[in-house]
Symmetry: C2
Subunit: 336 residues, 2 copies
């Protein structure tokens, strides 16, 4: 192993000087710099990141905690985050909690600032979870995609309320009246806010009905089951607002298996615009989240906090608007 000592010896200078050179501390004369660079190259020296971390008291790792790596939404979020991080010399440690609050807790408890100097977290689905450990860590944190009552920190999130409101209004404008909502987990603010958006649009158009509300969670399975119940209960349903695309996919399966056609018999709209939504048959109309951008934004904010460059001292919520993507899963009724 080539160390800074070897370089110093070869270049005929002290370790302090080598350190100054590799850290771009501009106090070293040009001629010494040249000697040092030459030695570094000849020895193929690479500084030991661990040793550096120890003496600097910080690491170049940040943790990304996601609830479900199988929902393509999250790999794309990760891509947005890591693409940004890597340009700045940071590495991402990725933890997939599989929506298991316990697993999340174990990881967070084991976590300390020695391992990572920042965290980007999309909390697992869990009501009233205690995130005190996280705040006690005194590590910069950015929350993405899912808010939590018990975690109060900088947040980058899509405008769930408005997105849902827009989606439902689109359904209404297409002439639909009986509009079911298949919610995600009631333990997530995400699902709650999408519900509120649905409710607002329904109430404004005098279409609101308690019976239209189904709570489940953000899985294909849950979407399938909820839709199955809907079809058992209702003789006639105009349209379905699925709280995310994954739920929509499950619901579409249930609809098809019940011998109904999309959108001729039932229209459906989703939320997220994951990559596969455009490939479904019919391609899914949905609210697109700029998820890659949300990821890189979260990373940028986190690095600013880590490097102490954050302009604002108070906590910020960055709320990004989604966009209605019209495809073929919603029918336009005559006269609409």
């Amino acid at each position: 192993m080539i160390t800074i000592k070897d370089v110093a010896k070869k270049a005929g200078v002290s370790v302090g000087t080598v350190s100054n050179v590799i850290n771009n501390i501009d106090i070293v004369s040009e001629s010494t710099k040249r000697k040092v660079f030459k030695a570094i190259k000849e020895l193929n020296f690479k500084p030991n990141i661990i040793a550096r971390s120890l003496s600097k008291g910080k690491t170049d790792n940040i943790a990304i905690i996601v609830p479900e790596i199988n929902n393509p939404f999250f790999p794309e979020l990760i891509r947005g985050i890591t693409d940004f991080l890597e340009t700045k010399g940071y590495y991402a440690i990725i933890i997939n909690t599989d929506n298991n609050a316990e697993k999340e807790e174990i990881f967070i408890n084991g976590l300390n600032s020695f391992l990572v100097s920042g965290i980007i977290i999309a909390p697992a689905d869990s009501k009233g979870k205690d995130f005190r450990v996280l705040s006690e860590l005194k590590i910069p944190i950015v929350i993405v995609d899912r808010e939590s009552d018990n975690l109060n920190d900088d947040t980058v999130i899509v405008n769930n309320h408005k997105g849902a409101y827009d989606a439902v209004n689109y359904l209404i404008n297409c002439g639909h009246k009986i509009i079911i909502i298949l919610c995600g987990s009631n333990h997530t603010k995400t699902a709650q806010n999408r519900y509120i958006g649905w409710r607002k649009a329904m109430e404004e158009n005098n279409l609101f009905n308690d019976d239209y509300i189904y709570w489940g969670d953000f899985t294909i399975d849950s979407g399938y089951k909820m839709m199955d119940e809907v079809l058992k209960k209702f003789k006639k349903v105009d349209a379905v607002f699925a709280s995310n695309d994954i739920i929509a996919i499950g619901a579409m399966q249930a609809i098809r298996e019940n011998g109904l056609r999309i959108p001729e018999d039932i229209s459906i709209i989703g939320f997220d615009d994951i990559y596969f939504s455009k490939l479904l048959s019919p391609p899914l109309t949905t609210i697109r989240q700029p998820v890659y951008e949300i990821g890189s934004m979260a990373a940028e904010i986190l690095l600013k906090k880590i490097e102490g460059k954050s302009e604002l001292k108070n906590i910020c919520r960055y709320v990004i608007d989604g966009e209605l993507i019209i495809r073929d899963s919603v029918a336009k009724k005559a006269g609409s």
Copy 2:
């Protein structure tokens, strides 16, 4: 920050003893152990992983290098790897190269054993790439999913040859004769071996024809384009063997857009069995890779190598059989 010194002082013992306690070195008397544990608990001490890594000369990080995190195959592979790693106290640093050999190279060059003590890599698509840096690192490496001529190390991989052979034989048994192959990138062994499997089955049945071969890469787009060309060139095609599910998805789109039905007009079979394949319409018949298991197997092998427990000194290839999953995208012709 609470250090081992603080614990030693509080417990009234030396740092060496505290170190022995937290490292389970069974030389400490029960009574001292109790004192130390008490102090650890009271101070909420957590060992500094960085300092430990420095003095032990190894880290608890391993790198996972994947070519495309957007193909759901890889998140599932990552899940298999990390679930295993986490039980052993290792963390995964995930690098997505987006099939960009240059990006992969930059990362690998920046890599050193201080950062990670092992690597699991599914190389980016690149012909004749030079992996010498990797072997010079002297870090344990396990290759998954994609082999490379220039990387020779323990490998966990599905039996691509047999899988393709089985898939094509299934098509043949269903009565298909004109069977196109949509290959992935010619720069990957994966695509090459699947091609060889196709070819063997075709030749054995006297169905082989050079014109049936299309080379592209492992993307939806490529699948779409190749299929489009096929449909322009051939009046009649019985079936398509797509080199992976992603290609199949693109091809299915092209087929549909050309006004043809699956499987009535054209049958199609994929490879991988990614999560979404069963959700397509029609659900895709494909060769299932036990990807989660491949991931945990790779992780297990890697940890054995890292911890020096590897029984065998020579390089091993673990070849796992895929499984034909019959769904609805292949038609059975009369008399077959």
